[in-house]
């Protein structure tokens, strides 16, 4: 009953804004929590699928976290993982169906990875760590924030991989237009292979931790 006494919190209070911004940097799901790495390697060869993947994951984490938070008092702890998985699977199938109906080209490009959002550990991580214990609105913001934090890394990685691996950006042949091939430049084939994504994520982690030294773990 003590909740009733508290004054109503504004929708975008400092605390709520932090829910959105902290996952972008200090609690980034990829670079700090090292979750969702597999899809980060797989869909980042080109910018366009990375952006659509980022939007899809953000939708699933946001709405999923909201649904879980609304249900949190009714979910029996013994079956909570099953309930969480069902919510994720439902949302992912809906995203897949919508993409097939309204963004057919992109759905073809993303192909297998839309279905694999189900196995993205960030989503279940947020449901377990946040949605199960917090009110709907903060949970929704937390989901969106984490989706964006994931998406941001995807977009940075795919930017470099597409630019140096294929010489294009969003399919536009940028290196060809500025005549880089005429002076003997060649695309780096290594860039389009998955290991390069891991190296790029590693570089991002390195840059981030040299800027914020307190993030470096003791070992």
């Amino acid at each position: 009953m003590s909740e009733e006494v508290k004054e109503k919190e504004p929708l975008f209070s400092l605390k709520n804004r932090k829910l959105l911004s902290v996952p972008l940097n200090r609690e980034n799901p990829i670079t700090i929590q090292v979750l969702g790495i597999c899809s980060a390697l797989a869909v980042t060869a080109k910018l366009e699928p990375a952006v659509v993947m980022a939007i899809s994951v953000t939708f699933v984490t946001g709405v999923g976290n909201l649904v879980i938070s609304l249900l949190r008092k009714s979910i029996a702890p013994r079956i909570r993982i099953i309930v969480q998985l069902t919510v994720i699977a439902t949302l992912v199938i809906m995203v897949d169906q919508f993409l097939k109906a309204y963004a057919y080209d992109v759905s073809k490009q993303l192909s297998v990875f839309v279905g694999l959002i189900i196995t993205n550990c960030i989503i279940m991580g947020r449901f377990e760590a946040f949605g199960m214990a917090n009110k709907p609105w903060p949970s929704f913001l937390d989901g969106i924030g984490n989706g964006l934090g994931y998406g941001m890394i995807l977009i940075i990685v795919s930017f470099f991989r597409e630019l140096f691996g294929s010489g294009t950006l969003w399919g536009y042949p940028i290196f060809e237009k500025i005549g880089l091939y005429n002076i003997g430049y060649e695309n780096n084939g290594m860039m389009i292979l998955p290991p390069m994504a891991l190296i790029l994520v590693g570089i991002i982690i390195w840059v981030q931790r040299s800027k914020y030294r307190d993030l470096i773990e003791d070992n």
Binding site: A42, V43, T44, A45, K46, P49, S74, I75, A76, P77, R78, I79, I82, V83, T86, T90, I93, M94, Q97, F98, K100, A101, Y102, Y104, K108, Q109, L110, S111, V112, F113, R161, G165, G189, I192, L193
Partner: protein, 248 residues
């Protein structure tokens, strides 16, 4: 705190709600999805002719370019003809033939019919062969256009459902498909040799064989092999027809 009874009821209700929501989504979106598939099929056929179609003008362009659709059976006999919007022979429009089922019947050594499209572009006649094969994660598809005597490939188009973006999925780029233009599926003696997708590039082949090969995709070996296998498996169905009707 939560009884077993509660858990069972909760799970059942949840599953029913999810089933209803998903069924509704699927039913409501199905007409649009099927239309997308038909348009993608038409765009694929036109792309083999090097005609770029948008979803809006695809059906119109198809009617303009593709004059005749044939259905050819395993013995090279034409069993259906669909010409200028009417079915002149047979009982199924060749465009509606399910290639997956046809190729499965072939594998089971049962009778089958496969479609063949005849198109006119700038006064020349082209034959377009639709293809389907098995990629790494799911099916790969393609259409390949031949000049009127089946001597040379005039254009090719490939697509897929689930190949890895940036790797196997690159078969759908024009960089890959344009390599097929000018290649030959028959050798000088007139035997069928298909076109191979060669790992390491056609530079690995003997110089006189290079007319029957294209470069594979780095990092997409299984998809590249699937394209090779698809070409052979689908083109060989038309050999009797070609022998009887075109190269006598």
């Amino acid at each position: 705190m939560f009884s077993n009874r509660y858990i069972f009821i909760y799970s059942s209700v949840m599953v029913i709600i999810v089933a209803v929501v998903l069924s509704l989504t699927a039913i409501l979106l199905q007409p649009r999805q099927e239309k997308n598939l038909t348009i993608a099929k038409i765009q694929g056929i036109l792309a083999a002719l090097n005609v770029t179609a948008t979803p809006e003008d695809a059906e119109e362009l198809y009617a303009q370019y593709v004059s005749t659709e044939l259905a050819v059976d395993q013995d090279g006999q034409v069993v259906s003809i669909y010409q200028d919007g009417t079915l002149e022979k047979g009982d199924i429009r060749p465009f509606m033939i399910d290639l997956k089922k046809a190729l499965y019947s072939k594998k089971m050594k049962e009778p089958f019919v496969v479609p063949l499209y005849i198109a006119e572009n700038k006064g020349d006649t082209f034959y377009i062969v639709p293809m389907r094969g098995t990629g790494l994660w799911g099916p790969v598809y393609g259409n390949i256009a031949f000049t009127s005597n089946f001597n040379e490939i005039a254009g090719a188009f490939f697509t897929h459902d689930k190949e890895t973006p940036g790797l196997g999925a690159e078969i759908s780029t024009s960089e890959f498909s344009s390599q097929f233009i000018g290649k030959k599926i028959f050798n000088d003696a007139g035997d069928f040799v298909s076109v191979k997708v060669v790992k390491g590039g056609i530079a690995m082949m003997a110089p006189d064989q290079r007319i029957h090969g294209v470069d594979a995709i780095s990092g997409g070996t299984i998809t590249s092999n699937a394209v090779s296998a698809m070409l052979k498996n689908c083109l060989e169905n038309y050999l009797v027809y070609i022998h009887n009707n075109i190269k006598q």
